[in-house]
């Protein structure tokens, strides 16, 4: 994640073929020290689906933005990517997929795929609702709850 993507044409890490022909160049070989300065921007410019190994679909359609995610208490210790570790780190309290996406600056689609992967790996419990048609009793509770706030 913190490495520049060599295929990204926008990445400044791409070596120039003939650096001494650039106007600002003082000529001759220069070490690629500029990589160090710009590497912090990578999460912004890195194409989001690099994190999911290029997958843009295949997310469980049952996983919505508001779907709640918690740690699986039975999870075995495994090595995870930094993004996945960050997601797991958020889930000690129930949290929605939308919150994971927003707080970790992951695109929603990326967050959905990673959450699905973590469920498949046994790390997270994803609480997909069996019935997503709202029932009157639930709506009444929301109404009472909203009335109570000032």
């Amino acid at each position: 994640m913190t490495y520049p993507d060599p295929d990204d044409p926008a990445s400044p890490a791409r070596p120039s073929v003939r650096p001494f022909l650039q106007p600002s160049s003082s000529g001759g070989y220069r070490p690629a020290h500029r990589v160090e300065e710009t590497v912090t921007d990578q999460s912004v410019s890195l194409r989001p689906f690099v994190i999911t190994s290029g997958r843009t679909d295949g997310a469980d359609p049952g996983i919505g933005m508001e779907t709640q995610v918690t740690l699986n208490p039975m999870a075995a210790p495994v090595r995870l990517s930094p993004e996945m570790r960050a997601i797991v780190g958020m889930c000690s309290e129930p949290v929605s997929v939308a919150e994971i996406s927003a707080r970790l600056h992951l695109h929603l689609g990326v967050a959905r795929i990673l959450v699905g992967d973590l469920r498949a790996a046994g790390q997270l419990d994803v609480h997909v609702l069996d019935n997503d048609t709202p029932d009157p009793e639930t709506i009444m509770r929301v109404i009472r709850g909203l009335r109570a706030i000032t």
Binding site: M1, S43, P48, F49, D57, G64, M65, E66, T67, Q68, V69, T70, L71, P73, A75, A76, P77, V78, L80, P82, E83, R85, A86, I87, V88, G89, M90, S92, E93, P94, S96, A98, E99, S101, A102, R103, L104, H105, H107, L108, G109, Q123, D125, H127, L129, D132, T133, P134, D135, P136, T138, I139, M140, R141, V142, I143, G145, L146, I149, T150
Partner: protein, 210 residues
């Protein structure tokens, strides 16, 4: 990318939700959609009712069916990044209300299918200076059968048209409420959402009795 929230530790030893060692039961999420054109006060609306400051999620979506405006391009796949603001209001320990603000232009309609799944209802925010901004959202929610309410955001108490005129312009059914509210005030937003919930309740009861 910030990882402050992920202490470097092994996953397997992570503590589970509550003190008694049992995992905390996840609350049931419900959601209301707030839709409208740019600058009509969606984010203000979400922020007024949310218990956290509104969060923004970026959704990058690929769609093959976006050529509504331009049929010649219908076969091309297009990727769009849109930002959605959302907030949360905890109702009780087992119930959480999410409020999603979504752009109201028809070119974003492809993602509303996902968004309205399981939604209780929608508040369509209208600025009377640009009423037509909300037409696509009204069209969509009407067709999808999602209960919705038209909320005219009265910036500084000003409205260029009366509610009757707005209703006439939108040509919506008699039973769709049109109301004025002020997106800056929590109580006003709460009351608007309560009208949405009334509509949702009507529909849920109708569905249950059939």
């Amino acid at each position: 990318m910030d990882y402050e929230q992920s202490p470097d530790r092994h996953v397997g030893t992570a503590r589970v939700g509550s003190e008694d060692g049992r995992p905390k039961k996840a609350p049931v999420p419900v959601k209301i959609i707030v839709a409208g054109g740019f600058g009509v006060g969606k984010t203000t609306t979400v922020g007024a009712i949310s218990e956290i400051s509104p969060l923004t999620t970026e959704a990058e979506m690929t769609s093959a069916s976006m050529g509504i405006d331009d049929p010649g391009e219908a076969s091309l796949k297009t990727t769009t990044t849109i930002a959605m603001d959302f907030g949360v209001q905890t109702i009780d320990q087992t119930l959480k209300l999410y409020i999603f603000g979504t752009p109201g232009q028809s070119r974003f309609a492809f993602m509303w299918d996902d968004l309205i799944k399981g939604a209780l209802g929608a508040l369509v925010v209208v600025d009377t200076a640009r009423i037509d901004d909300c037409y696509p959202a009204v069209d969509y929610f009407e067709r999808a059968g999602l209960p919705f309410v038209v909320g005219v955001n009265t910036f500084n108490g000003q409205m260029n048209y009366s509610l009757d005129e707005v209703r006439w312009a939108l040509a919506i059914r008699e039973d769709v409420p049109v109301l004025a509210y002020d997106a800056r005030f929590r109580g006003s937003v709460r009351d608007a959402l309560l009208v949405v919930l009334d509509q949702a309740l009507d529909k849920a009861i109708r569905q249950k009795s059939t």
